[in-house]
């Protein structure tokens, strides 16, 4: 917990920090599990045993067999591999990919690229979402039924706006069409019950308080899925993705999972109440829209856009007041493009701030921190508008 000063209100938990018990596990694993798990010596065998145990914990948590769970270099890579494996396995039937417009860029960018280099725009169908960020199911049903479609990708929940997707009907349509459904649970695992409607599942250990640099890919035995290239001779170790993680990361992720799973329901209920407080605070700010589904949502994510405000100025001003939040506004992105999620929803992209409430164990003062943000939000928005001489428009 040394990474964050006690008086800082960190409300950007999408990328950590680590659960304190997982941090202890990670430190212990540096000594106990550093070795290459492929080695035959005592240290190697120890690392292998620890990795197997970590895999078992995570597989049990996700209600799958250990040999159905593989690792990836991070959450984004997990999602990218999940789609790639579905596409490669279906290559004799076609190459068409279907995804919602609010998927992670690790889904959208490769799919757009593949369609662009082949010169066939039909190879990628981007399904629109409504104002709340929910996928248009009629369009989804039509898109997955197009012949040549070999994989479809839909998030469990969106990490920017919190909206949960209607996975059950989306999965039924995929099954009817014989198209495997990749579910990206990067934002949701550890915060809500894991999804059950999927053919491939991808996640990021950070969402449940685990370390960065570790993604998971679940490929149930019934799913046709494979990656190009030779298979790893030690499949029990490498799993379907072929990625053998640094063992201490896997151990820390398994410890974080157990900690987070034990407190999930209560943690989520509290986080949801804190987000409701923030919604009320935002409603008191003139011309401020809360974005995303108000009911079917992640408990800990809240995004709002304030008209005539500058997202970068909001983030910097809050930071000076000791409050860390994210933003989907173009001026805060290295690309200077606004968040594709906000744009797809028809939401205002400027004046955007995004709150991801940390787990209570990670941030015991989170209720105080949310209250601090709620208290200063009106004056911070007003100050940014005043700078732009846009107070009375």
């Amino acid at each position: 917990m040394a990474s964050t000063a006690a008086d800082r209100a960190v409300l950007d938990a999408a990328s950590g920090p680590l659960h304190p018990v997982a941090r202890e596990t990670l430190l212990a694993a540096l000594d106990a599990g550093w070795a290459d798990p492929r080695r035959l010596h005592h240290e190697g065998r120890t690392a292998r045993r620890l990795l197997d145990r970590a895999r078992e914990v995570l597989a049990t948590g996700l209600a799958v067999r250990p040999d159905e769970l593989a690792f990836a270099p991070d959450g984004a890579a997990a999602v990218r591999l999940a789609v790639e494996g579905g596409r490669y396995a279906g290559r004799r039937r076609g190459a068409r990919v279907v995804a919602s417009a609010v998927e992670h860029s690790s889904v959208l960018a490769p799919a757009r690229h593949a369609a662009a280099v082949t010169g066939d725009p039909n190879l990628f169908a981007e399904v629109p979402v409504d104002r709340l960020g929910r996928v248009d199911l009629d369009a989804w049903f039509a898109a997955v039924a197009v012949p040549g479609t070999v994989v479809a990708a839909l998030q469990h929940a969106n990490g920017e706006v919190g909206t949960l997707q209607p996975l059950d009907p989306a999965a039924r349509a995929c099954h009817a069409a014989g198209v495997p459904l990749v579910v990206d649970a990067q934002a949701s695992l550890g915060r809500v019950p894991p999804p059950t409607s999927f053919d491939v599942l991808a996640g990021d250990a950070r969402s449940w308080g685990g370390p960065g640099g570790l993604g998971v890919v679940v490929v149930p035995g019934r799913t046709r899925w494979s990656l190009p290239g030779p298979a790893d001779p030690d499949r029990a170790l490498a799993g379907p993705t072929g990625h053998v993680p640094w063992v201490p990361l896997a151990l820390a992720a398994a410890e974080a999972w157990q900690q987070t799973a034990a407190t999930r329901e209560q943690d989520a209920a509290e986080a949801s109440a804190l987000v409701d407080d923030l919604r009320l605070a935002a409603a008191a700010v003139p011309d401020c829209e809360v974005v995303g589904d108000p009911v079917h949502r992640l408990p800990h994510v809240l995004t709002l856009s304030a008209l005539y405000a500058d997202g970068e100025a909001l983030v910097r001003r809050l930071d000076r007041l000791g409050i860390a939040v994210a933003s989907g506004s173009a001026c805060t992105a290295s690309t200077l493009e606004p968040s594709h999620v906000l744009a797809a929803m028809g939401a205002l992209t400027h004046g955007n701030i995004r709150v991801t409430v940390p787990l209570a164990d990670v941030s015991p003062d989170r209720a105080r921190d949310v209250a601090r943000l709620a208290a200063v939000l009106p004056e911070v928005v007003a100050a940014v508008r005043a700078e732009l001489k846009a107070e009375r428009l």
Binding site: Y308, P338, T349, H350, L393
Partner: protein, 101 residues
Amino acid sequence: MSDPEVQVAVVDARGLRCPLPVIHLARRAADEEAGTVLEVWATDPAAGSDVPAWCRMRGHEFLGAHAHEATRPGESGHTAYRLRLGGAPGTPQARAAAARP
């Protein structure tokens, strides 16, 4: 979109970054009558989302967007976003109307 009969008032926000194009648009809208067709020219990619979103929040009618290539060397292209003002722009009554669901 290209109907020559319509009188269009242009707000030139080329080169401005978000949220300035929408702020310039809102200032101009406050001086215009309801029913006026405004066109805002912008190079900022955020305007593509934010001009329609502003229309929705303020009760104006978004008419569409049209991309214009650069006409001179060294110039970059821009997009023209066209809308029709509703209500009585800039007044508290219009704001209240826009705020109602």
